[in-house]
Symmetry: D2
Subunit: 144 residues, 4 copies
């Protein structure tokens, strides 16, 4: 079985126009782990200028999905089946980043978690945790 290379994963990430729209950056350091980060900008905020919850969920979901991707065969793609995020602190930093991690890699079903942090001059803190189920698929139409 030929696994995906880091370049394969970066290419897949770059095909997601929504990631470019958010100016998100990916980094894969080891198989089964993925980091996605984003800089604060007005466009990404809720009513108090904090990172919007939707941006937090997006990074949580995508970091876990790409962590799963890094363990899949070259021809396979991830499909998030479900994603659950707990928002545990306000996201008031200048940067937001999520670390996705595969908890168990099955034949088709992956369980993963993600932790989302914000950082400012005062340091960084955990602002959200997520638990997800991801499917490995040959074609995105196979969602079910």
């Amino acid at each position: 079985m030929e696994k995906k290379s880091v370049q394969d994963i970066i290419n897949a990430f770059n095909k997601q126009k929504f990631m470019k729209f958010l100016n998100a950056e990916i980094s894969i350091n080891e198989p089964g782990l993925c980091q996605i980060s984003i800089k604060h900008g007005e466009d990404l905020t809720q009513q108090h200028g904090l990172f919007h919850g939707g941006v937090i969920s997006t990074l949580a979901d995508n970091s876990a999905a790409f962590a799963a991707t890094s363990l899949m065969e070259k021809k396979r793609e991830p499909l998030t089946i479900e994603c659950k995020v707990n928002f545990i602190d306000i996201a008031d930093g200048s940067r937001l980043w999520a670390i996705g991690k595969v908890l168990s890699a099955g034949k088709r079903i992956f369980h993963a978690e993600a932790k989302v942090f914000t950082s400012s001059d005062d340091g960084s803190k955990l602002c959200a945790v997520a638990l997800l189920t991801i499917k490995s698929t040959l074609r995105v139409e196979e969602i079910l």
Copy 2:
């Protein structure tokens, strides 16, 4: 207790720059229900040109949060404590919309659900369902 007016809710929505960035539109027809919709655009897509999962989660979360807002006192704001989304079909339409609905409105804790649909020339279909917990707060810093 003075409740929020529809105009209060629309004003709160307009303060979320991320909603403007996504070109999202809100509609409140009755207290405890909220619809948020968005047109398809390349910027909102994943690798196959479908609506990105992060966009789907964003609409699910926000439609439920604003549904909860519509039942809160004028001076209170919603904070999503947690949000869980199941992705049940591919989001391949030209429009995406979420309907958030409050299931139970407590003194401070609201339970809500959201259903997300896509529509195309062939009609519309359910593509995601969500279950959320939302807190009513006086200040966003009170996240916990």
Copy 3:
């Protein structure tokens, strides 16, 4: 494809000794829907004599899993991949029952919801809602 009969489902339910331990009863009225109910007893309570949250989760999970079973081929079995329950009211009645419903039935992945009610002399009320992902499997060892 030969589907399961109602008797097949009841037989499968009766093989779950934990259901017997809880004195739970199943009823299947139409494919994709399942009801499981239980009478109040001291053994099933938390510190205030209410139904324990674990009992509520158990009924939510199992009602959804057997609803999914009712749509599966004769030789297949359900495996709950994940289950999320929101507890929206106290479970203070004399009977607890859950209604599981399949939201979407894929080739292998089922999305389902469950609603859990309690009833007393004053009537009945919704006390929990759940959202689940269930896998159809040939062998329980195929959990992943």
Copy 4:
């Protein structure tokens, strides 16, 4: 603020008749952490003699709730607002135990996680992970 003692927590646990029914045992080693364990017995099984998913959810929920309790004032009690469990491996051991851990302790809202393990002669393994929201309350009627 007077915190609960370990004995207070054990007393609270012993008031949950459902825990006695399952023959569950609690152990609190440090504030914010709680372990609940249970021995395999036929009464706790699903159709293949494995621990029933409802038993797994019950331990996950309760270990997190008692971990939160260990950080609460003497007069306060935990109420699980919502609980999400991912089942990642089959629970085929002779013992099942959950470790609940508080991720963030707010004034009223606690975020927590739980990990559930099984052990057999071959060693132990992770079989489920959970993410929960718990409320600190003065009276259980204040569920919302």
